[in-house]
């Protein structure tokens, strides 16, 4: 039997989002908007020291406040659940096995605090004001200890240990080589070296983390958790194990989420503490992370020192590339991924679309007394692109070859091919085409002329390029290749209800991606339904089937694959019913406009409602061989990995008097295969670009030499504003992926993966007349001035 595939009406269209009217009216429902009867509010007592022994905690004065319901320390809670161990009880993290020294994180620090913001007690009170006041009255007897602040020093034998139970501060070391890097370096005419420090970043979603737990006892024993998160079902799995509560009695609901960016794809200690205190106090408890907690004590990301070596011949052909990635990963391993993800993904993305035979890397992840580092959109890949693209521009400058030309000379072909750095095959792309297109959109030659003219006037603009790849659509194969030998299962349940409504139920857990719209587009096309008929239900473990969640640019690909499969099942059943009723052959049934009709006789048709009425209520009208008539199918999809690609060019102007860098233009040429909704894809790109500009020029998580955090507010940690980000000039190239059912590739991270390298290179290009080396992010005005002062001093020294 072959059932017709409907014509596309919605996929590829720029449809407005069905989510938006409620969000625009302030009627979204985020965790903090939920109010339960009798609900109490939690606040945490946190360490003001980077490293300190806890000699005692006195809660008497705080507990005496009227309206304080309870105060809990590690002594009260740590024996009930935990510790949290990354890479082991992980489900979807990286299982590094014996390669990883495990940190065991207690729910509340009981013996020692290991970073500024480490939580030592939780106060639960009538309202948050009172809980905060009570926190002030909790007296902790601290004994400050020397802190490990610099990852390079942390490697020395006489460095203090962040975790005395471990043999070293370096908790993961991995290396890799293909070809013979040293031989290639030894025989190459030119070898280039630099050290690049990629600064600490923060996902910093505008909505901080937050959780409500309602633990009921007695016959209806169970826990309901509302949490701002990216993985509803995995959170249930984690909590089920840690709280020893069967999954059937645990419900995790993810309401609207105000941005995640990977931060909300982790298990944090607070996520376990809040259910436990709800049980202890027999009432619902809410905790909303405040901005200080978010900046000091959630997760930072990707602080990596990169030692880069590249060998080239006289024509700029790259002969070898070697990088050493040293991650400053903070005080604990984030669950589930481990801190290897940043250095690991930096390494895996260091080669990109370059054709180089001899490639090697080492990766190390070193504990320090700083906030832990975990997944942030573009995990590690940003670092890998920055390191590579930065040295590529050095090669171009020193050999006096145009940077576009140098990249074209070293570019791989478009066909699918083995990725020499592993572990996957590239699924094909448009690597050189994107470079050329970006050059055209930019008006490159004129811009270079303009650059020279402006220099004569004392104005310095710079052009920076990044030719990037984005590793997306994470599933079983990807994780297995990265060392996590666990399958990925993502189910979608598709139902045609008795009245003809179509319901898509998925545990994929969106946080701004617009799944209510895109999944409806996909389901409507796959069934031949009208968009208005389709409703998407998501991210509630009691209403949706299991999913590994929304992260790693996977939901569009995974969701579309499963929806297409389930829709095929439903079309088959509906075609059988329609054919029987209309006295036609099943092969002649066509779907479209919410109807099944006979090919060539469009008036011979049944609406979805009419078909569903037969399926659910009229067995006498069903064909005898219908089997189970219900119009429901639950299917999964586990994609092969995809590699999107593209070219980003940043044009900046550096004010050499103030050091301020202004991003004038971003040209973004992107190939993510088949585009599902251009408005949403472009929105993902523009958002990632802004984050990329932020992390390369503005956002800083500064610690002083003693390990004290200096960036605890949004006055210190600077989000890019509307004044800092230009309108992004986006162009698309479409190379459908042979690896996925829909031809789509992951796209959500490309903006942030690629933009920082382009901005860094643009600043370096602008400052090229001054012979300075741009070797870190973020590049703040102070840094620019310091570089220029140093250059001036050394040129004066040379002339005197």
């Amino acid at each position: 039997m072959s059932v017709q595939t409907p014509q596309h009406r919605y996929v590829g269209e720029r449809l407005v989002r069905v989510e938006d009217p409620r969000l625009l009216r302030g009627r979204g429902q985020y965790v903090d908007d939920i109010d339960l009867p009798g609900m109490a509010h939690a606040a945490f007592v946190r360490s003001p020291f980077p490293h300190a022994r806890i000699n005692g905690i006195d809660v008497e004065a705080a507990l005496a406040l009227d309206g304080v319901f309870g105060i809990f320390t590690g002594k009260d809670l740590n024996h009930l659940a935990g510790p949290l161990i990354a890479g082991r009880n992980d489900y979807g993290g990286a299982t590094l096995g014996s390669d990883l020294l495990e940190t065991k994180r207690q729910l509340l620090a009981a013996d020692k605090a290991r970073h500024v913001g480490d939580a030592v007690a939780v106060v639960v009170a009538r309202d948050r004001y009172l809980a905060e006041d009570a926190c002030e009255l909790v007296h902790v007897d601290w004994e400050p200890l020397p802190a490990v602040v610099d990852a390079n020093e942390a490697l020395s034998d006489d460095s203090p240990r962040v975790d005395e139970a471990l043999a070293s501060n370096n908790i993961v070391h991995k290396d890799f080589e293909t070809g013979d890097v040293q031989a290639a370096m030894d025989s190459a005419p030119h070898v280039f070296r630099k050290r690049f420090h990629h600064g600490r970043c923060h996902p910093a979603p505008l909505e901080p983390r937050g959780i409500i737990a309602d633990w009921t006892t007695g016959a209806d024993r169970g826990v309901t958790v509302w949490i701002s998160h990216q993985m509803a079902h995995l959170m249930r799995t984690y909590l089920s194990e840690l709280l020893q509560m069967p999954e059937g009695r645990l419900r995790v609901i993810v309401p609207d989420v105000g941005g995640g960016f990977g931060l909300k794809a982790h298990l944090f200690t607070e996520d376990v503490v809040i259910p436990l205190v709800s049980r202890a106090l027999d009432r619902p408890v809410k905790w909303i992370e405040d901005r200080y907690e978010n900046l000091a004590a959630s997760n930072h990301a990707r602080e990596v020192f990169c030692d880069i070596e590249a060998a080239a011949d006289d024509d700029g052909r790259l002969l070898a590339l070697r990088m050493k990635f040293l991650g400053d990963v903070g005080a604990y391993s984030p669950v589930p991924y481990t801190p290897w993800i940043d250095v690991g993904m930096a390494a895996k993305s260091m080669l990109g679309s370059y054709d180089i035979d001899n490639v090697g890397y080492t990766t190390d992840a070193v504990l320090t007394n700083k906030c832990p580092t975990g997944a942030y959109r573009g995990v590690g890949q940003t670092v890998g692109q920055c390191a590579r693209e930065s040295i590529v521009d050095d090669v171009a400058r020193k050999l006096d070859i145009d940077p576009f030309e140098l990249r074209l000379r070293n570019c791989i072909g478009d066909e699918p091919r083995v990725n020499p750095i592993g572990p996957h095959h590239y699924d094909g792309g448009s690597y050189a085409e994107c470079l050329r297109k970006a050059r055209d959109v930019l008006g490159y030659d004129e811009l270079r002329e303009r650059q020279l003219e402006l220099r004569e006037q004392g104005r310095y603009i710079g052009i920076g390029i990044c030719n990037f790849m984005e590793h997306g659509a994470w599933g079983s194969k990807t994780y297995r290749a990265h060392g996590a030998d666990r399958p990925f299962i993502d189910l979608v349940r598709l139902t045609v209800e008795p009245g003809g409504s179509v319901v898509v139920a998925t545990g994929l857990t969106p946080n701004g991606q617009g799944h209510e719209t895109t999944f409806a587009q996909l389901a409507a096309d796959a069934l031949g339904a009208d968009l208005e008929q389709v409703r998407v239900v998501q991210a509630d473990t009691e209403r949706t089937p299991f999913s590994m969640g929304t992260r790693g640019s996977r939901s569009g690909v995974v969701g579309s694959g499963a929806i297409l499969r389930a829709a095929e099942d439903l079309r088959e059943k509906m075609a059988q019913i329609a054919a029987h009723q209309l006295e036609a052959a099943v092969e002649d049934i066509e779907f479209g406009g919410g109807k099944a009709s006979v090919r060539g006789a469009p008036s011979q048709a049944l609406t979805f409602r009419e078909i569903a009425q037969i399926a659910y209520f009229a067995p006498e009208k069903q064909p005898e061989d219908i089997g189970e008539p219900a119009l429901v199918s639950t299917r999964s999809y586990d994609p092969d990995p995809t590699y999107g690609n593209g070219t980003v060019v940043a044009v900046v102007e550096v004010d050499v008097k103030t050091g301020i860098v202004k991003t004038e233009r971003i040209v973004f040429v992107e190939d993510c295969g088949v585009v599902l909704n251009p408005m949403i894809v472009d929105g993902q790109i523009a958002g990632g670009v802004a984050q990329g500009i932020g992390q390369s020029l503005l956002e800083q998580l500064a610690y002083d030499v003693d390990g004290q955090l200096l960036s605890g507010t949004l006055k210190d940690f600077l989000y890019p504003t509307a004044g800092d980000v230009p309108s992004v000039e986006i162009a698309h190239v479409v190379t459908p992926s042979p690896a996925t059912t829909s031809g789509m590739k992951g796209v959500a991270e490309s903006g942030i993966i690629a933009t920082p390298a382009a901005v860094v290179n643009a600043v370096a290009d602008a400052l090229s007349p001054f012979s300075v080396e741009v070797d870190h992010t973020p590049i703040t005005p102070n840094d620019v001035r310091a570089l220029l002062r140093a250059a001036q001093a050394s040129s004066q020294a040379a002339t005197t």
């Binding site: 004001y129 909505e207 929105g683 949004l714």
Partner: protein, 165 residues
């Protein structure tokens, strides 16, 4: 601490409530009045997610004491547009892809409305300047800026009319 009785108008309705002297307007709006469209993002007036109109001027409710709105008129995002008829600013955010996660959106709507009330024909630079105090982590501002410009164009050409509560 002595509580204060304050009288003010909230989205067109007169209100009389007792507030603590240190109670923030944001808490009154969100916790006492259950108007949860107004959002917390930073607590120090840096992100704009808590913006509301007070006597027609945009203010950040996370750094305004509730006692200070005694005798004044407050409009939150819930007072702008209705389901049947979105405000032209809201309509434009919908059309131009100005929304992703939606968390900054109420503040953006409040600020955009204030901008267009003040300056019906802003340039792109003026929009970007005016909106600098409203942070968005998702959109890169592209859709937001397009939306404000598009709403301005429609309103000033008479194709759309602001919808107040």
């Amino acid at each position: 601490m002595n509580k204060h009785l304050i009288k003010f108008v909230l989205n067109g309705e007169p209100r009389e409530i007792l507030v603590e002297p240190n109670e923030l307007l944001m808490n009154v709006v969100r916790e006492r009045e259950s108007l949860t469209g107004t959002k917390y993002g930073c607590g120090i007036g840096e992100c704009g997610a808590c913006a509301v109109h007070v006597d027609g001027q945009p203010l950040l409710s996370c750094i305004v004491l509730a006692a200070d709105v005694d005798g004044r008129e407050v409009v939150t995002v819930e007072g702008i547009g209705s389901y049947g008829q979105l405000d032209p600013v809201q309509e434009a955010f919908l059309d131009e892809g100005g929304v992703q996660c939606g968390y900054c959106t109420p503040g953006m709507v409040v600020m955009s409305r204030a901008l267009l009330n003040e300056n019906p024909n802003p340039t792109e630079l003026e929009v970007r300047h005016y909106m600098r105090g409203s942070l968005c982590r998702c959109t890169g501002y592209s859709g937001i800026v397009r939306a404000v410009l598009s709403a301005a164009e429609k309103e000033s050409s008479g194709k759309a009319v602001p919808v107040a509560s």
